[in-house]
């Protein structure tokens, strides 16, 4: 393949179904076409919405590909056909989508990366609740655990992120009018995900995330120019280590630590301490849990290590000292008591050993009703 420039990626960011992301994406395609750009629809999800379907009129549509899974046909984006057609721009709906098993790539964002690598610009859509590092907060806000997530680094690589904003009240009116869903489904949606306070909080998350993404894209030298106090202070180098254990809250810990480290521009490591220096000494369940957590960290672009050591706290603090770590991230201790001598959770010992470092104890963002 001849050397070519990577395509540009633009994301229309929303906070719920029906805010107008697909519409905005198609409008952009129409505008591009009107100004003479070679643009195709790589994939779009009409959801049976009239205004959206009308917006697609006159645009070239690359037919979807049918994939058989357990005897049922599923339709997915035909990435090969788009590559063969090689337009200047492809618009691709639903960036966080997971392809049906049997597809060449697991995630749609991986298909999009392939298009970009071949020099095709992509315009896509997503909702804030699919961003990996916000998964726990979204659960806290909506009571829903979103499974289809997209790693933050994938979103960070986008050239441009645009907020598609509509007020929750306008969105609820749209739903009541049946624009977004048919009547029966609308009733259900209104009861669950679409309660107004939930929508308001998700919208706030989307606005703040977009503001952050805009700021990230301002060249670093000038980013803090208006904030003199900040500019005059040399940016301290922050290095973060996350303690990986079999504790099921570890995924939450990784997400939170990674989010903070991304915002602060810190280096991040995820470390587990084992007496054997590998995972062989563990029970099947523990080994699987720790492997899962290490994999999860790697997928978020965090460097992982398995350290040898009899004592978790000592091993971790020793690693932190040798690697000039400034912050240690651990989950909130489990157990019945916080009596120092009785609790075997390593968190307490780490705090006692590392009085020269910052230690962050992360607890879940449970909703008020859950707390006892």
């Amino acid at each position: 393949m001849a050397e070519q420039t990577r395509g540009k990626l633009k994301i229309f960011m929303g906070y719920a179904a029906g805010v107008g992301k697909t519409y905005a994406m198609l409008q952009e395609a129409q505008d591009l076409k009107a100004s003479g750009v070679d643009v195709v629809i790589g994939y779009f999800e009409p959801h049976g919405r009239k205004e959206t379907i009308a917006k697609a009129e006159g645009l070239e549509l690359i037919p979807r590909k049918t994939i058989d899974y357990r005897g049922c046909p599923f339709e997915e984006m035909d990435t090969d056909a788009i590559l063969a057609r090689h337009p200047h721009v492809a618009v691709v709906d639903e960036f966080p989508h997971t392809n049906v098993p049997g597809s060449e790539r697991v995630k749609r964002w991986e298909d999009v990366h392939l298009l970009l690598a071949h020099g095709i610009d992509v315009v896509t859509t997503m909702n804030i609740q699919h961003l990996e590092s916000l998964n726990d907060q979204v659960w806290n806000i909506s009571g829903i655990r979103v499974r289809e997530t997209i790693p933050d680094w994938v979103v960070q690589q986008a050239d441009e992120i645009v907020m598609v904003d509509v007020t929750p009240r306008a969105l609820l009116h749209r739903i009541q009018r049946g624009v977004v869903y048919d009547r029966a489904k609308a009733e259900q949606a209104l009861q669950n995900f679409f309660r107004e306070s939930t929508l308001v909080a998700l919208r706030e998350l989307a606005l703040r995330q977009t503001a952050h993404e805009v700021e990230r894209r301002i060249p670093a030298a000038d980013r803090n120019a208006p904030l003199e106090a900040e500019a005059s202070r040399p940016d301290k180098h922050r290095r973060i280590v996350i303690l990986i254990t079999a504790n099921p809250k570890t995924a939450m810990l990784i997400r939170r630590a990674k989010r903070v480290s991304d915002f602060l521009g810190a280096e991040t490591f995820a470390v587990t301490v084992q007496p054997t220096g590998d995972l062989s000494g563990l029970s099947e369940d523990e080994r699987r849990a720790i492997e899962q957590h290490l994999n999860f960290a790697r997928n978020l672009h965090i460097e992982t290590r398995i350290l040898e050591g009899e004592d978790v706290a000592e091993g971790l603090v020793d690693f932190a000292r040798r690697n000039q770590i400034t912050q240690i991230y651990v989950t909130r201790p489990r157990g019945q008591t916080w009596m120092p001598v009785l609790n075997r959770d390593p968190a307490q010992k780490i705090i006692a050993l590392a009085k020269d470092m910052q230690i962050v104890i992360v607890s879940d963002r449970e909703t008020a009703g859950q707390r006892s």
Binding site: Q137, I141, E160, L207, A211, P219, L227, W338, I361, A368
Partner: protein, 363 residues
């Protein structure tokens, strides 16, 4: 399970009814469309909303348009009813009398930040809008962030220009709805190196304004959400807005804690809070150490919250929860040897600090 699914107590139901009544009694209904620069498509969005509402059968009028209208908007405007501006002494203002007499369901006003000419009924256009709202007319109005009084300095620091005519933020906060019109600045075209440089600088300025507009909208949304939750008696914290609470103690390394807190607050566009718990029998030595640390916090511009209570950890946690704190900063414990066995206030903070990060700092 989200708390709203709980069975509501009679008190909660009562509060809810009262809140709804209060909202119904509030006159008018204001919707703001916020832009970060001219040319991002605010006028188009506003006029398009007017068109769509009319298509749905709502009685709408245009009560104010900008002197220059983008070409793409002209055909949209042609089909809408416009109440022209009133000419007064060579200036112009929206025609409040004519709009109130016409009594539309919704009045659209493109451009909220105008000072009216002398002799007009109100000094500014936003006060005219207040009158329309009081008369029970819904208003949809647009504004750019440079015209918001409280943002004038921040915008001037970015653009070097200071707007003459402004609208106070408090007026925007009374809006029932606020929406941001977000669009990235246009890509600089291939030009000469100097032009390229100039275009790049312009784009950076626009990006900063964009960031400011997004954060402002988020802040207004947060303000309204808090208001809504409180008026409905819901003690739920969503953590959509990062809030950092720095706890001051006599031995805390407050310099480091404050520096870190300020950087984190700035990066997250978050809020910084400082608190300390009053101790009844504090030694003179500790008191002066505490005073020195409080001075550091004050010098950093932080407002200090003084808390009371027998149990310092609980006082801090109660305050943190009531404010929706997401990160609590505290110093390492000083206790050594046998004293540790009892468990320190720090232990308690960590043990009971549900729903937030507790960050322990070196002393």
């Amino acid at each position: 399970m989200p708390s709203e699914l709980r069975r509501k107590t009679p008190e909660e139901l009562l509060r809810e009814v009262q809140a709804e009544e209060a909202e119904a009694a509030r006159s008018g209904h204001l919707k703001i469309m916020l832009g970060y620069a001219s040319g991002v498509g605010k006028t188009h969005r506003l006029v398009d909303e007017a068109r769509r509402r009319r298509a749905r059968g709502q009685d709408i009028v245009i009560g104010g348009v900008q002197p220059k209208v983008p070409k793409s908007v002209e055909p949209l405007l042609a089909n809408l009813e416009i109440i022209p501006l009133k000419q007064i002494d060579g200036g112009s203002a929206i025609d409040v009398d004519a709009i109130i007499a016409r009594r539309p369901m919704v009045c659209f006003i493109d451009g909220l930040a105008y000072n009216n000419p002398p002799g007009a009924r109100n000094p500014t256009r936003w006060q005219d809008v207040e009158e329309l709202l009081r008369a029970g007319i819904k208003v949809v109005a647009s504004i750019n962030i440079q015209y918001i009084e409280e943002l004038r300095d921040q915008v001037a620091a970015i653009t070097g220009k200071r707007a003459g005519e402004t609208v106070p933020l408090s007026f925007l906060q009374t809006a029932s709805e606020i929406e941001i019109v977000d669009a990235p600045p246009e890509e600089p075209m291939e030009r000469s190196p100097e032009e390229q440089m100039e275009a790049q600088k312009r784009q950076e300025r626009l990006s900063r304004l964009r960031e400011l507009a997004l954060v402002l909208t988020a802040d207004v949304v947060d303000y309204q959400l808090t208001d809504y939750l409180e008026s409905h008696g819901l003690h739920q914290q969503f953590g959509a807005h990062e809030k950092i609470l720095v706890c001051v103690t006599p031995r805390a390394n407050l310099q480091e804690m404050m520096e870190e807190a300020q950087v984190v607050a700035q990066r997250f566009h978050g809020e910084l809070l400082v608190a300390y718990v009053k101790q009844p029998n504090i030694s003179t030595e500790d008191q002066s150490a505490l005073d020195a640390r409080l001075a550091i916090a004050s010098a950093a511009g932080a407002q200090i919250h003084i808390l009371g209570g027998d149990d310092p950890a609980h006082a801090l946690l109660d305050f943190a929860r009531s404010r929706g704190v997401t990160q609590l900063y505290v110093g390492h414990s000083q206790r050594k040897g046998l004293a540790r066995l009892k468990g320190s206030p720090l232990d308690k903070l960590i043990w009971e600090g549900h729903g937030m990060d507790v960050r322990v700092f070196p002393q």
